[in-house]
Symmetry: D2
Subunit: 201 residues, 4 copies
């Protein structure tokens, strides 16, 4: 039996990775709405008509990227193991105490922001410093829970969603101006159609 199963080559199931991402965010107490609220906080100044629905949609699109899912799952895994005291010393201590010279959490966060380009760097740093909304709760050190990674990851997803919105809004603006469109815009339009279809099915 073991032989037989050993011969089946490993094949990634993307849907499982996507589902695990949603599952673990939820299990660690973070809702998409809370992340969307960070996006709204960052973007309402630039787009007064921005709706919470749009923010949630953009958070979902960020979370549908494999690069993002990898970072979320890896970060939450390290938080969970630190909470259970199962990491090797001194890594256990550094993650447990969110040690100020330990920056691998920021590195993972940046891999998320980077997917939508460098324009999100600033937004990430800003929310990570101010810790509004859900980030304040994740940073509460009195709960016994450890969110050294998740804290940064949530801020990064919000920053990435903000970048995504900035790109999309520019495309919309140009379409309204009747400017001829670049392939990327057409893609965005068809993507939106596909997503809308998906959501209404």
């Amino acid at each position: 039996m073991a032989d037989a199963s050993a011969k089946i080559p490993y094949s990634l199931n993307s849907k499982k990775v996507a589902e695990a991402t949603t599952f673990w965010l939820h299990k660690r107490g973070v809702t998409l709405e809370e992340i969307a609220e960070l996006v709204m906080l960052l973007q309402k100044k630039y787009y007064p008509n921005l709706t919470m629905e749009e923010c949630v949609h953009n958070v979902e699109m960020v979370l549908s990227k494999r690069e993002v899912q990898n970072a979320v799952l890896t970060g939450i895994q390290l938080d969970v193991l630190a909470e259970e005291g199962k990491l090797l010393s001194p890594l256990q201590d550094m993650i447990e105490n969110d040690e100020s010279l330990y920056g691998v959490d920021e590195i993972l966060a940046f891999s998320i922001v980077n997917v939508y380009g460098s324009i999100g760097f600033t937004n990430y740093g800003y929310v990570d410093k101010l810790k509004p909304g859900v980030l304040e709760r994740l940073n509460d050190k009195t709960t016994g829970q450890i969110h050294t990674y998740l804290d940064d990851i949530v801020g990064a997803v919000a920053a990435a969603a903000s970048s995504r919105i900035a790109h999309r809004k520019q495309a919309e603006r140009e379409q309204e101006l009747g400017q001829p469109h670049a392939p990327e815009d057409l893609e965005a339009a068809s993507r939106k159609a596909a997503t809308d279809k998906l959501q209404h099915e």
Copy 2:
């Protein structure tokens, strides 16, 4: 007149940015086919049925991203100014001589690779070191031309296109296996449809 025009707020025209990217790559002597050949070199080992048409398409998709266009235009601009001797010393000398401790060209290249995630890091480093095909020509220091930036940018676009192919091939594989699909796959499918439509119009 000047007053009037001064009052029109600046509005980015994405199509112009996209067109300038294509124009300048061409003007600096790089064809999409040459970049696609680097992609083929990097990927044929993993996907024996990969066609040049697919490689060209993926290069085009990478080049349709704003983040990529920004890096291409900025890099070529610095190459052109260095060629004309118009940069301030010692920056002029460093770019003119592709100085080994000057790494801003690599930094711009990485912003391109990053758009499709970290899986492209290795491919970029590999082609940049071996300098196959078009990269050998761009590195010829006897022509009087300066391609300190373009050299790295072309390798980065090829690496990014390779990452894009890896993501798409995985999605195709899962569709063939009849696995239920993540939103991203649906997006990819509709995107492909939109692009095909665009190309046949």
Copy 3:
């Protein structure tokens, strides 16, 4: 003559690169003290006894790194050329208007922050968003001056200096506790001695 000079191989003069960095920061209206004030703003909360002298020293040390000098010189060069209207369209427009989807300035800034590791990401984003002190002046769009790059670079140097301080303060703390020291600490100590010597000569 041309032949003779052509035969002298290019040899980088690091001192010239360092001097040009200081010269251009000054010429573009930024003093080390102003950058040090940003550092103080970011760090006084953590180190109440931190002096301006220490902040200036750490800014100087950041600026002595080649990677940082490269980014500073390249960024200022692009600002100056944009101010003179000498860049090619549409790059000219994007840099002149600090266009929100143009992120190469952030990319260069990040190469500076990165030299002292990921712990500086947050500080960079924070000052870049709030624009305290010198950053407010650099962002004043009514002066005719263009500081699209310098603005981000100054914030990045301040963030990097903050990271440097965090590393040094930890080393000092451990030395006071009489803990045996890692090679890096010894290096830091001898480096400090060398620098002090340099400053008193």
Copy 4:
């Protein structure tokens, strides 16, 4: 007792972090000499007189950086847990199989390379693709051992050490030419003196 200990604030012990890094590299079967051999492979072409002793020294200096130690410890931790089957699915499968769309290992590797700047990007990609020496052994999938992270980390340490050598050699060259020196060079000299002293004690 628990109360008392709970009141002692966490204080990082840098020496323990440094020692754990050396310990875990050794325990996972990687010697400094093997990493130094990769450095030699990458650099002998540029510096024919480079000695193995210098390569080992530069590897040690890279490993003395906290940012590097954090990445090494985090990466090895994930490898070890994957080997023990203790990660959550599907992360367990992705790391166990070194899945091609999982790139967090490359992200950690890049945080190491970045400490010495972007000039090391290419070297990292090159050794990671060719897998010479120790990297071939770490990639042997028939041993039951999992080195998904360590493989990339070792290549990154070698690339970073190569960058460090490039910077130091330039400083030496300028000193030999009798050029006046930048503060960084003086630092390097005193650092070298301190290190030599350390090694002979």
